[in-house]
Subunit: 155 residues, 2 copies
């Protein structure tokens, strides 16, 4: 399900969009991103490659591709909308409200319970969105984040 940069041409064609140079760079940059950049941050990155790309072009590209379902637009908390390519399996998000970091996770058990709830009400699920807003725990640190902390402190 992963999107390869070589797929961009096909994706545009399939959606009736022209593959222009700015658009190619914007999508490639978003594919490379492991975080969930907002439009301004993405613009900052693409302009290191091609300095004349306008912020409005970034916005227009993000709007167009979100509408086609190629990208997902997230409204986490207050700030600007943040984007990611739909290139992996479905996942939900932990949002660290202190740092703004977003951590992806997946819980088959929660999804099973959602199915159950929907069924109990006579529905079937079309899609869902689960966002857990968190802050670093006071007492303990998990093995996962402890490892991340060591890595970051090591630089």
């Amino acid at each position: 399900m992963t999107i390869d940069p070589s797929d961009i041409k096909r994706i545009c064609r399939d959606n009736g969009l022209r593959l222009t140079a700015p658009r190619k760079i914007i999508v490639e940059t978003l594919l490379e991103a492991t975080d969930h950049p907002d439009a301004v941050e993405l613009h900052r990155r693409v302009t290191t490659i091609s300095p004349r790309i306008a912020l409005s072009t970034v916005y227009r590209t993000l709007v167009a591709l979100s509408e086609k379902g190629v990208l997902e637009k997230h409204n986490f908390g207050n700030g600007p909308a943040r984007f990611e390519t739909v290139d992996r399996e479905h996942h939900d998000h932990l949002i660290d409200v202190v740092s703004g970091n977003v951590i992806e996770f997946r819980s088959g058990e929660i999804e099973r319970l959602q199915e159950e709830i929907a069924r109990q009400h006579g529905y079937e699920i079309v899609s869902h969105k689960l966002e857990i807003y968190v802050r670093p725990a006071k007492r303990r640190r998990s093995k996962i984040s402890a490892a991340r902390h060591r890595r970051q402190s090591a630089k």
Copy 2:
């Protein structure tokens, strides 16, 4: 758990906030609202009562009371943030994409799993948002929605 206008004074006192005339009108107006107004709409309503209340006062009040947990701030889709008083127990939402109906539900089990996920990553939960987008199931209809369906068809 419902908030009565007479509780506003106590709510402010308990949270270390002064009960001013603008603040009282703003909270009363939000309590009356059955929708989820944004700041501008709320300002429009309060100024019909007291025309000199500033939009910035509405924002500051909404920010202050959201931080205290008296209000909930929602970022639905793109537009401005929308607010509601926290006068019932926490709930999540099933959104029927066909009819637009919103059904509130609560799952202690899902919330417990969320706690677990956050803890595993070294975080504690600040808040969460779960929206399940659904459509009526093909085969069966639950007792709950069958009863609702009869009620709505009866009019």
